[in-house]
């Protein structure tokens, strides 16, 4: 169905049809000590298991640990400057079409299945998990959930994140 003014839905059918599909190509990245530690310093989390291999081993780990949510930043793919929009975001950040003005960060849900270690190679796959139109006190809005699965070089799922976007 085309985008008719009589169609009240904020979610075009073509977008609804994307539920369950990958929203981008899978991304693979190596977890490096330098990037992990820069991230930990920027957060202000100086947990010794991120910086001191003896502390990591004393806590039961084989090597340095990466901060829990760092894995989602480790797989960010950089783009050239001409792929950056006026608001600073990379183009193509939101490939699905919605009849909305703006999208906000609504929250996030994480499951940590196993620690992520420096030296791991992580593959991230992100799917559109759900897209639901809801009635809010300020009018209708759309709740978009993207689910990313992070898998290490041994084939073990180490973490899953569900990123919740609110669009209206």
């Amino acid at each position: 169905m085309q985008d008719q003014p009589t169609d009240e839905s904020l979610v075009p059918d073509e977008t609804r049809a994307l539920v369950g599909t990958l929203v981008a190509e899978p991304v693979r990245a190596e977890i490096t000590a330098k990037e992990s530690q820069r991230y930990a310093q920027a957060v202000g989390d100086l947990d010794p298991v991120y910086f001191d291999i003896d502390a990591a081993r004393a806590a039961g780990h084989p090597t340095l640990v990466a901060p829990p949510t760092f894995v989602t930043h480790a797989v960010v793919v950089g783009l050239p400057l001409d792929h950056i929009r006026t608001d600073g975001l990379f183009t193509g950040a939101m490939p699905m079409r919605l009849r909305v003005q703006r999208t906000m960060f609504g929250g996030e849900e994480w499951d940590f299945d196993a620690p992520v270690y420096v030296g791991d190679t992580i593959t991230a796959e992100t799917r559109l998990a759900s897209i639901d139109e809801k009635a809010g006190s300020k009018g209708p809005f759309v709740r978009i959930v993207r689910e990313t699965t992070f898998t290490n070089q041994h084939g073990d799922v180490v973490a899953r994140s569900r990123q919740i976007g609110i669009a209206r």
């Binding site: 990037e35 820069r38 991230y39 310093q41 920027a42 957060v43 202000g44 989390d45 947990d47 010794p48 298991v49 502390a55 004393a58 806590a59 039961g60 901060p67 829990p68 949510t69 989602t72 930043h73 960010v76 950089g78 950056i84 608001d87 600073g88 975001l89 990379f90 906000m104 960060f105 609504g106 929250g107 996030e108 849900e109 994480w110 499951d111 940590f112 620690p115 919740i164």
Partner: protein, 140 residues
Amino acid sequence: MSPTQVHLEDVAVGAVLPRVVRNASRVQLFLYSAATWNPHRIHYDVDYARFEGHEDVLVHGPLQGAWLTQYVTSWAGPRARLLSVQWQNRASAFPERDLHFDGRVTAVDGDVVTLEITEADPDGRVLMPATATVRLPRRG
């Protein structure tokens, strides 16, 4: 300084975690943008942030999420394992203002402890409510 370890035997439903106060500088927000390769202008360009209707540059949602996970891991200690965390973005957080992190134990199931956590402004307005589960080691 060796980090302290919380054991399963130390906690019970209703136990209150110590408050942590954070106050992000603009430099910290810039470094976090750089370390996460995030070029979004609302986090470092105050003119642009105001153009979008915000009163100042915004603290990144995932940075607040990282603080929430740190709130749990630093309380629980090195031999605990964080299993899950969920947070909701309810209101904006800004730099150079105190942010209060508070938590309490809401359930203990086997060796897994559930925490309810809030990030709030000094007036008690909750900016980010959260829950987390963490597996604690047994003593001895």
